[in-house]
């Protein structure tokens, strides 16, 4: 269960948002929208602990995420604009090293299977340098298949993905939500997500959260 209380973030000397409060519990999806520069990415980076907010408190299961630190990051996976993929490594190596970092032990064939399900059959052992932007994105998203983290923070996960990948990712998100997981994402495409619990949070331009 995530609670955010009176959060305020400043970028340079611009106050992106202030007095922002909302909460998110198991099985819920938080859809974050707002024009460019409204602080969506900054909010996500603050929530996952990469960025220290100037004001306010972020609590996970009632405890501040700064105290929890490692326990909290174990529960979170953050995929930002930058994929975190090393161009010189193959998709397989990238996936296994990222999983080890997540604390998930992934065997060789589990990795093959994950890459297969994400639609990268035949590209598994090529250096990711030769893959297209969409394929690199898929490698980054393949982590989600093997990851036990409860809380997914995805910054525009659908960019550069083709139709098939978008629907596949939607299904993966639905399964995660159904199994009690939590997802917070931003996207510019009009994507129909789940019928269930979808919370909306608008940033920028009268950014009072209507959650």
């Amino acid at each position: 269960m995530l609670e955010v209380v009176d959060l305020e973030c400043v970028r340079g000397d611009r106050k992106l948002f202030t007095q922002l409060s909302f909460s998110l519990s198991g099985g819920e999806l938080l859809y974050l929208y707002g024009q460019n520069g409204s602080g969506k990415t900054t909010l996500m980076r603050a929530i996952c602990g990469l960025l220290q907010p100037t004001e306010g408190e972020i609590r996970w299961e009632g405890e501040s995420i700064r105290e929890l630190s490692d326990e909290y990051t174990r529960e979170v996976v953050y995929i930002g604009h930058k994929n975190g993929i090393k161009d010189d490594l193959t998709a397989l190596e990238n996936l296994r090293i990222l999983s080890t970092l997540d604390g998930v032990h992934m065997s060789e064939d589990q990795a093959w299977d994950a890459l297969d399900r994400i639609g990268l059959r035949g590209f598994e052992d090529l250096p990711t340098q030769v893959l297209s932007q969409g394929q690199k994105r898929r490698v980054a998203l393949a982590r989600l298949l093997a990851h036990q983290a409860k809380f997914w923070i995805l910054d525009e996960p659908f960019t550069a993905l083709d139709k098939a990948a978008v629907s596949l990712l939607q299904q993966v998100i639905r399964d995660h939500l159904d199994s009690g997981g939590m997802v917070m994402l931003t996207t510019h495409q009009e994507v129909k997500l789940t019928e269930g619990q979808v919370k909306q949070l608008q940033l920028g331009g009268g950014g009072q959260a209507d959650v």
Partner: protein, 249 residues
């Protein structure tokens, strides 16, 4: 106990610290002028001529004072920086940024006066003496701090990156000093180091102390003035700054 903590934090907000600093500057400036005045008078008219080094030794009243200040300011800077990092109070971080240029100035002056003192005594402008060499390295540490902070645009990151560098630096100063000491004795044996000079009479000690206090008061006045500038620069689009400065013109 809690009331004292509360008011400490009250001062840590720029809006309350700015006028307070403004009120203190005149007092410290006055103290500096008086102390330095007395110190200078004593340096030239009260302190006796040194039997060995003649009048040239009087440089010691400036050299030792500024060298001591350069070390002291770096430690104070690291302390403020550490406070700013731990308590996330912006004014302490600004104090560290404000201290650095004055510290660097004192370090340069210490090197300058050291060289001018070395020339008549040992015939060379620069002596690889342990203290002078450590002073030179201290200047590099100051320049590194200032360069790092000016290379980072985001004020918060500049404060915290500078704080880490200052803390790492302050931990390294004793190690650097010790290794330079070791290096100096190994290579040159016991040459006359700059600071030994003639034995310290009480009058000279007093003169040096007064001069140092004068430098100290000067440093506080200048640093407070600089921190006020930094506060204005960083808080320029806040309401309290506009009310304060906006109506001036």
């Amino acid at each position: 106990m809690s009331s004292r903590i509360v008011n400490w934090f009250k001062f840590s907000s720029p809006a309350t610290f700015y006028p307070l600093a403004g009120r203190m500057i005149p007092w410290f400036t006055a103290a500096a002028v008086i102390l330095l005045g007395v110190g200078l008078y004593m340096s030239f008219f009260v302190a006796p001529t040194d039997y060995k080094q003649g009048e040239g030794y009087r440089i010691i009243f400036v050299h030792v004072g500024t060298a001591w200040m350069s070390m002291f300011i770096y430690v104070v800077m690291a302390a403020w920086a550490g406070l700013g990092l731990v308590f996330n109070t912006r004014v302490s971080a600004m104090m560290a940024t404000a201290l650095a240029p004055t510290g660097a100035m004192f370090t340069f002056v210490a090197l300058w006066t050291g060289a001018l003192w070395g020339k008549p005594m040992w015939g060379t402008w620069w002596v690889w003496d342990a203290r002078l060499t450590s002073e030179l390295i201290l200047l590099f540490l100051y320049l590194g701090f200032i360069a790092l902070q000016s290379a980072i645009d985001e004020p918060r990151r500049a404060d915290r990156a500078g704080a880490i560098l200052a803390l790492v630096g302050v931990v390294n100063i004793p190690i650097i000093y010790y290794s330079v000491q070791w290096w100096n004795t190994l290579h040159q044996g016991a040459t006359v180091s700059v600071s030994q000079g003639s034995s310290m009479g009480t009058v000279m000690l007093w003169t040096m102390l007064i001069m140092t206090l004068g430098f100290w008061a000067y440093a506080i006045a200048v640093v407070l003035a600089r921190v006020r500038c930094i506060i204005l620069e960083r808080e320029r689009d806040t309401t309290w700054v506009n009310e304060l400065e906006g109506g001036v013109r």
